[in-house]
């Protein structure tokens, strides 16, 4: 009987029920997708922040005052691959080696590096693509990266100083080169010739040698613990520090695999990153909270508006002899159904919304968390039931005759 009454209530008030279900669905959708967003925002934005370039710099360990001014020591090319074997290897998004040399006859700086290099990482099926194009996205080449052994890239400032253009010839290390493009980076490469690393190593006789490596890694924002001096930590603290993806611990791990190296965080990048993540995360949390509250209130006002009319029906039921329990049961069942249907549609809708937000802004969908499904359903049922409870209680308290007469 209960079910029959509820069923007929749905059939006879399609519109009112539809309005309530839509309100619950939209409220749930928005709440759930914004929660998805706030849970995923830090990981999404920290990827975006890598556009500011590398956050770790690896250099040879210097010894003695003479080495401060003129570079004599080098790192080894063969160690580069090991960067992808450290504990936090999956957080290494890219690295670029640099070799700095001076062309002996002209005194121009010649830099060797990788622009877009595909390397095979042991134990990984997919090749790892890295180089300046990945780590330093602000590099601009007019023309193209050298494709053969007699092509060279020319920095913007040097090109205007030497009055050399794309396609012109130039002599370096006693060999003839063609300028394949003009590079502009806003830093020292602008005033240099740039060659593929391996080409320069051969030319300059510095086989297998590199001057420094820039590494771009996804890191855990620095907290108070992270700022402690690792050398003064207890073994347990050290282990915790080592196994957390702080920029310092990743640097430490890189230092361990690259012989004779010193790896240091690039502090302006590393610190700003943490700050931006914290601020932006907080902003999104707060906005989500505002939206979730507003969705809940919005759904409640709709429910109350819809159910004010219900007082009349409650009175009628009382008049035909339904006891309190029965009356309440009928309306609660109804609210449960509204909440369930609304919650379900809302959750499905939120999958679309969070995908839209993710793809539109970050190019990849937001991560879906399974926990949101029961959470959405539970919350929408709860709101529906609460929204129903108020008018029912009000109706039950009033003598039926008064309401039936049209008050």
């Amino acid at each position: 009987m209960l079910l029959r009454i509820v069923r007929s209530s749905f059939v006879n008030q399609k519109k009112a029920m539809a309005v309530m279900i839509v309100a619950v669905a939209v409220g749930t959708a928005i709440a759930s997708s914004l929660i998805s967003l706030s849970l995923d925002i830090t990981s999404k934005v920290s990827k975006e922040l890598r556009a500011f370039g590398a956050n770790i710099k690896v250099e040879p360990r210097l010894q003695g005052i003479a080495e401060v001014a003129g570079q004599r020591r080098y790192l080894r090319s063969e160690d580069l691959l090991k960067i992808k074997t450290i504990f936090w290897r999956h957080n290494i998004l890219g690295f670029v080696p640099f070799l700095y040399t001076i062309e002996p006859s002209t005194g121009h700086t010649v830099i060797g590096t990788w622009y877009r290099k595909s390397i095979k990482v042991p134990g990984e099926r997919e090749p790892f693509v890295t180089g300046a194009s990945e780590v330093m996205p602000w590099w601009q080449i007019k023309g193209r990266w050298p494709e053969s052994e007699n092509e060279v890239l020319l920095g913007r400032e040097l090109s205007s100083r030497l009055n050399l253009r794309r396609g012109d010839r130039v002599e370096l290390f006693g060999r003839d080169f063609r300028v394949s493009g003009i590079l502009s980076t806003g830093s020292k490469e602008d005033d240099a010739f740039v060659l593929p690393l391996e080409v320069l190593q051969k030319l300059s006789g510095l086989n297998g040698k590199i001057s420094e490596v820039y590494v771009s890694a996804l890191t855990t924002p620095m907290d108070d613990f992270a700022y402690k001096d690792p050398e003064k930590m207890s073994p347990r603290e050290y282990e915790k520090w080592y196994c957390t993806g702080y920029v310092t611990s990743i640097a430490k791990q890189i230092e361990e695999v690259m012989r004779g190296s010193r790896a240091r965080p690039i502090w302006p990048v590393a610190e700003t990153e943490g700050k931006v993540l914290k601020r932006l995360g907080l902003l999104i949390y707060l906005l989500s909270a505002v939206s979730v509250i507003s969705a809940a209130l919005g759904v409640s006002t709709t429910m109350i508006m819809s159910l004010l009319r219900r007082t009349r029906q409650v009175a009628l039921m009382k008049a035909i002899g339904a006891d309190r329990l029965n009356t309440v049961l009928i309306f609660l069942t109804e609210a449960l159904i509204v909440g369930f249907l609304g919650g379900l549609t809302g959750y499905l809708l939120s999958l679309l919304i969070s995908k839209y937000i993710g793809v539109e802004v970050f190019g990849t969908p937001l991560r879906q968390r399974a926990i949101l499904f029961p959470l959405s359903l539970g919350a929408s049922v709860l709101i529906a039931v609460l929204g129903a409870y108020l008018p029912i209680r009000k109706a039950l308290a009033i003598r039926p005759a008064l309401i039936l007469k049209g008050e």
Partner: protein, 363 residues
């Protein structure tokens, strides 16, 4: 006394509002809620660039200004540059060299408050004869905090008050307080100006600067400028997309609240039609009420929205966010429009139905 037709409309509508305060209140709340969320998102979306770009300044300057001649920048030139509204922040540097252990070492003079994005063990140099040393230099020379350094050319001794690490070229340099450096090297003005310029107008700013001061050397730090603009655009886009989604849904819930009210009053609409009211005359009744709740709700909503935005901004950025006033009337209008649309849509449907079916209760 005879009243005009319009006054009677007033009379009937206010009578309704008076006797159904609860419903009217809920309608207003629904409008207020939507407009508040809308306002909060608009205010934050328009203010986010300013807030975030301030955070991003710690990545470093996006423009470096020096002179083509290598001479220091004059103080009045500096003042004119940094007073440009496109300049969001600036640092001044003084460069020089110290001769230590027979080696010329670079020195940077900087203000304490501008020395950011750095890990410092020890304290920033205060007063004369104190310096801090870059970690690379310190490691190479075996310099420790508290040690003394003897400048050989001028015969001055400096005390090392700290070792700093920045992860850049500065790690092989020595840093002094700006005033000390100025005095020590006898420089008037500054060696370089490090600016944070609004990234949207960076090329305009550069050409203006070149026009006004042809002797300046202006370098855009592409790494910072491009990445900054890209990130800011992305954050703005994020705000816009989220705002759209949230506002759209808030408008729907508000519409459904107002719509639920109309559904409840279907019988009234049927009766009015039976009494001979045209669709437009019925519409006028509800329109009037919707306008009232729309205007009151929107006014309260914009106020609440600004309050929410400020609260969020205080919490997330430790500062208030500027409100662009011209948005407010726009938001109020939008609130009224949504309220009216949400009312008139179901009313129009009802007035186009046959009165007999409404009165029978099929609505």
């Amino acid at each position: 006394m005879r009243m005009k037709k319009g006054s009677w409309l007033n009379y009937f509508v206010f009578k309704n509002i008076k006797l159904r305060k609860g419903r009217f209140f809920i309608a207003i709340s629904a409008v207020m809620l939507t407009v508040a969320v809308l306002t909060a998102f608009v205010v934050l979306s328009t203010g986010i660039r300013e807030k975030m770009s301030r955070e991003l300044q710690s990545y470093g300057a996006n423009m470096i200004v020096t002179t083509l001649t290598g001479l220091p920048l004059k103080e009045d030139v500096t003042k004119r540059i940094v007073s440009n509204p496109l300049v969001r922040g600036f640092k001044a540097h003084i460069y020089g060299t110290l001769t230590i252990r027979g080696q010329e070492l670079e020195v940077i003079g900087v203000r304490k408050k501008d020395f950011k994005g750095v890990r410092l063990e020890g304290s920033f140099p205060e007063g004369g004869n104190q310096v801090i040393v870059g970690v690379k230099l310190a490691e190479a020379l075996g310099i420790k905090k508290g040690q003394s350094l003897k400048e050989e050319k001028r015969g001055v001794t400096f005390r090392v008050s700290g070792i700093f690490e920045r992860g850049s070229k500065a790690d092989t340099a020595i840093v002094m307080d700006l005033a000390t450096a100025r005095e020590f090297f006898g420089i008037k003005g500054f060696s370089a100006l490090l600016l944070n310029v609004d990234t949207r107008y960076i090329s305009r700013f550069t050409s203006e600067l070149k026009r006004d001061f042809p002797s300046l050397k202006i370098t855009t730090v592409k790494q910072v400028a491009l990445a900054e603009e890209k990130l800011l655009k992305k954050i703005e886009l994020l705000m816009v997309v989220v705002s759209l989604v949230v506002v759209f849904s808030a408008a729907i819930t508000m519409g459904s609240t107002v719509g639920a009210n109309i559904i409840e009053r279907m019988e009234e609409i049927g009766l009015m039609k039976a009494l001979g009211a045209r669709a437009s005359e019925v519409g006028r009744f509800f329109l009037y009420e919707a306008m009232l709740s729309g205007i009151i709700g929107s006014l309260l909503g914009t106020l609440a929205g600004v309050a929410i935005a400020e609260a969020v901004s205080r919490t997330a950025f430790n500062s208030f966010v500027g409100v662009e006033i011209f948005w407010l009337p726009l938001l109020i209008c939008l609130g009224v429009v949504i309220a009216v649309a949400a009312t008139l849509l179901p009313v129009r449907r009802a007035t186009s139905m046959r009165p007999s079916s409404i009165l029978r209760g099929e609505g």
